[in-house]
C-alpha cells in the first residue's frame, strides 16, 4: 500500500511538469525558399499519411494572402474563418479549424486570402502553434515561398523543419539559403521532390546524391514526379490515401520516419514508358 501511494505522488508531479508546460505535439515547418517545388502538396500528403496512422494532425497554411492548402485538400468550400481571425481573437481556434471528413484525425487552419503576410504578429503565431501542439500530435506548418516576414512567422513556432527541394539548380540554391536562415535547433530534414528517375539515369537530372552532396541533410524521403500527383491534386484528394499508389507509399514512409520508424528510403522506379521516352530524348 505504501509503495502505491508513493508511485501516485510521483505521477502527479509528472503531470504538472509535462502536460501544463510541455504540449504533447510536435510542430514541423515545411519550407523550401523557392516557390512551386511542392511544399503545399507535401504538407497535405504527409499530414494525411500521419492522420491515417491514427495520429491527430493540424495543418496550418501560413501562406497568408495566397491560400492554397485548402484547395489541395479539397476543403476550399468549407473555409469560413482563417488564421488571422484566430490570431486577432475574432473567432475561437475550434471554430476556425476545419475537420477533414475523409481524414477525421486531420484539421486545417486555412490562410487568409485577403490579407498580407506582414499582418501576422510573430509572437501570436508562436503562441498559436503552442496551443495547437497541446491539442494535436502533429502540427504541420506550410511555409510561404521567400525568406521574408511570411517565412519568419511560419518558422517561429516550429521545433523541426522539412526542406522540400526539387533536383534543379535554383531549388537547391534556395534550399541552401533557407537552411542557413533556419534556427539551428530545427534540425532540418530533406525531401527530394519531383524526381524523374529515368532522367537521372540518363544524366539529365541531378540525382538525390547530387542534391544532398550540397545540402548535407538527413534524407527524409524521395518523391517521384508522377502524373498521378497532378490528378490527385486536381481532385483535391491527397495521393497518400491511395493504397495502390507508389507516390502515396513514398509519403506514407515519410510519415513513418517522422514517427521514428527506421525504414530504408525507397527509390522511385523507372517505368517502361519513361525508359522508352528517354531513348529518343535530347540532352
Amino acid at each position: 500500500m505504501e509503495g502505491l501511494t508513493h508511485v501516485q505522488t510521483v505521477n502527479q508531479d509528472a503531470v504538472v511538469t509535462t502536460d501544463a508546460e510541455q504540449p504533447k505535439g510536435r510542430a514541423i515547418v515545411i519550407t523550401s525558399g523557392k516557390g512551386g517545388v511542392g511544399k503545399t502538396t507535401t504538407t497535405a500528403n504527409v499530414g494525411a499519411a500521419l492522420a491515417a496512422r491514427g495520429l491527430s494532425v493540424a495543418l496550418v497554411d501560413a501562406d497568408v494572402g495566397l491560400r492554397n492548402l485548402d484547395i489541395v485538400l479539397g476543403l476550399e468550400s468549407r473555409v469560413r474563418y482563417h488564421l488571422l481571425d484566430v490570431l486577432e481573437n475574432k473567432v475561437s481556434l475550434e471554430d476556425a479549424l476545419i475537420r477533414d471528413k475523409r481524414s477525421p484525425n486531420m484539421s486545417l487552419l486555412a490562410a487568409s486570402q485577403t490579407r498580407e503576410k506582414d499582418d501576422v504578429d510573430t509572437e501570436k503565431m508562436r503562441l498559436l502553434v503552442e496551443r495547437l501542439r497541446a491539442q494535436f500530435d502533429w502540427v504541420l506548418i506550410d511555409c510561404p515561398a521567400g525568406i521574408e516576414a511570411g517565412f519568419r512567422n511560419a518558422v517561429v513556432g516550429a521545433q523541426s523543419a522539412i526542406i522540400v527541394c526539387t533536383p534543379e539548380v535554383s531549388s537547391v540554391r534556395d534550399s541552401d539559403r533557407v537552411v542557413g536562415l533556419l534556427p539551428r535547433d530545427l534540425e532540418p530534414r530533406l525531401i527530394v521532390n519531383r524526381l524523374r528517375p529515368h532522367l537521372v539515369r540518363r544524366g539529365k537530372m541531378l540525382s538525390v546524391e547530387d542534391v544532398n552532396a550540397i545540402l548535407r541533410l538527413p534524407l527524409l524521403g524521395v518523391v517521384a514526379d508522377e502524373p498521378e500527383v497532378v490528378v490527385a491534386t486536381n481532385r483535391g484528394e491527397p495521393i497518400s490515401l491511395d493504397p495502390k499508389s507508389q507516390t502515396g507509399s513514398a509519403y506514407r514512409s515519410i510519415a513513418a520516419r517522422l514517427c521514428g520508424e527506421h525504414i530504408p528510403i525507397e527509390r522511385p522506379r523507372v517505368s517502361f514508358f519513361a525508359r522508352l521516352g528517354t531513348l529518343f530524348g535530347g540532352r
Binding site: 539548380v169 542557413g180 540518363r202 544524366g203 539529365k204 537530372m205 541531378l206 550540397i214 531513348l279 540532352r283
Partner: protein
C-alpha cells in the same frame, strides 16, 4: 536490354552542367554571405603586401566575381612606392615570387 541500348547512345548529360553551375553559384553565395571572412582576408592581404611595398589600406579593394567557369577574386591594391627599409622587408621571410603589380588577379580555382 534497354540499358545496353541506351548506353550506346549515351553522351554527357546536362546534369553535369547543372552540378558545375550549382557549385559556382553556391561558392559565390557563401562568399557574399560571409562579409567578415572577406574582410579578414582583405586585412591579411594588406598585411602581407605591406611587408614588401608601401600601400594605403584605405585604397585597397577586394571583391569576388562569378565568371563562366570559376569564381575569381579581384584585389585592387594601388602601390604607393617602395619601402624605405628594404632590408627589413627582405628579412620579412616567406620565400615568395610575389611581383609587385598595380593590380593582382588571383583565380580562386578549387
Amino acid at each position: 536490354m534497354f540499358e545496353l541500348f541506351s548506353r550506346f547512345f549515351r553522351r554527357e548529360g546536362s546534369s553535369t552542367t547543372a552540378k558545375e553551375r550549382l557549385r559556382l553559384v553556391l561558392l559565390s553565395d557563401h562568399l557574399a554571405l560571409a562579409p567578415e571572412t572577406v574582410e579578414a582576408l582583405k586585412n591579411d592581404l594588406i598585411a602581407v603586401i605591406s611587408r614588401y611595398v608601401k600601400i594605403d589600406p584605405h585604397l585597397c579593394d577586394v571583391s569576388f566575381e562569378q565568371q563562366a567557369a570559376t569564381v575569381a577574386m579581384h584585389a585592387n591594391i594601388p602601390i604607393l612606392g617602395l619601402l624605405a627599409d628594404r632590408a627589413a622587408a627582405e628579412k620579412a621571410t616567406i620565400a615568395s615570387e610575389t611581383t609587385p603589380a598595380n593590380s593582382e588577379h588571383v583565380s580562386a580555382q578549387p
